[in-house]
């Protein structure tokens, strides 16, 4: 896992950590069930306070990206959990909006658009 922090950016440290882990989960870089570093070893690695890493993990857990087991540590949550799903849906809608805009620009009609969408889903399912 590759996390780094920027002390001079306007974004608070715990947010930076939150974003990076979230993105790693969403992109599949971190897989469901993968163990995350303990809050203390991450704090040591990044040279920051354990309260910061703890806060980032708390937020990630609240939003369904990770879960914690007492005495064992924190792990990536199963796909489709809570906010992760929300995130994915939001991104999907975002892409669809972009595609729709392009379709309108090229004067592509609705049927052609939906066929294209079905093809995309189909080809994706074959993968």
């Amino acid at each position: 896992m590759n996390i780094s922090i920027n002390n001079t950016s306007g974004v608070s440290l715990y947010e930076q950590i939150y974003e990076q882990i979230k993105n790693a989960v969403l992109s599949g870089e971190l897989k469901s069930g993968d163990a995350l570093p303990t809050i203390r070893s991450l704090a040591k690695d990044l040279r920051i306070s354990v309260i910061t890493t703890s806060r980032a993990y708390d937020e990630l857990e609240k939003d369904g990206f990770i879960y914690s087991v007492v005495g064992k540590g924190s792990f990536v949550a199963a796909k489709g959990g809570g906010k992760a799903l929300e995130e994915h849906l939001r991104k999907m809608e975002e892409y669809l909006a972009k595609a729709a805009k392009l379709a309108a620009y090229c004067n592509v009609d609705e049927n052609t658009f939906i066929t294209a969408a079905r093809n995309a889903l189909g080809s994706d399912n074959e993968k």
């Binding site: 040279r47 306070s49 354990v50 309260i51």
Partner: protein, 279 residues
Amino acid sequence: MKNKIEIKNLTKHYGGFTLDNVSFGVPRGSVVGLIGENGAGKSTIIKSLLGVINTDGGEILFDGVPLGRLGKNQRQLTGVVLDDVSLPSAVNLRELNTVMKNMFSRWDEQTFFALTERFRLPRDKKTGEFSKGMKMKTAIAAALSHGAETLILDEPTSGLDPVARDEILDILYDFMQNSGHAVLISSHITSDLEKLCDYVVFIHGGKVAVSGEKDALLEEYAVYGGNISDLDPAAVVRVRRRNYGADALVKRSMIPPSFGTEKTTLEDIMLFFVKGEKL
């Protein structure tokens, strides 16, 4: 859960200086940084904690037990690094190990030598011939080798180069991998504390000027360099007037987002409180 260290209304009168009703705690699993300029009272607080000076008022509790009622074994659960190191100078590390072995009931020779190896300290040289950095590392190695759960360090990094300071930081992080441990560290080199500390207590003129979670403090305050009269007076904590302008330490939440502010550092907070004035 009890704090590892609890200080209540600590008071001490010296000739020209008074430590006045200082209160704070060191929670289990946390690192508390004591910052302040030289002479502010940090060392006085630490010496009081260690029973090395007599106090004029207040309570000091370790794991809920008053300092005066701690038995020898309980006292040894606290590791100590003093600013002047205070180890016998006519002995080498092997001999120091022998002395310590017979002073501490839970002395761990293996840990001690593992640490001195890690610090690359020579075993056969008298500690009196060590450089300041080497002496400090020796003291830290000793403090970590008798089963301590709490570490108290008084200015452990002054006079050390950045590499040595980083090594010590590393060691402290290792110590804190155990959530049952705690560290109280005093320093006027705020950049060191800025990384490691979970909480900071800022001492000025013998009193607690500011204290709280480090991250929260750094987010709560900001530095504003624009026109101070544009600001809500209640938002201005301290002002430093220059010849050609002024800077203010402000409460970030009370400043409109459009006003450009800079992130604070612990050093900023310290300087504003020491050299700044109220509006």
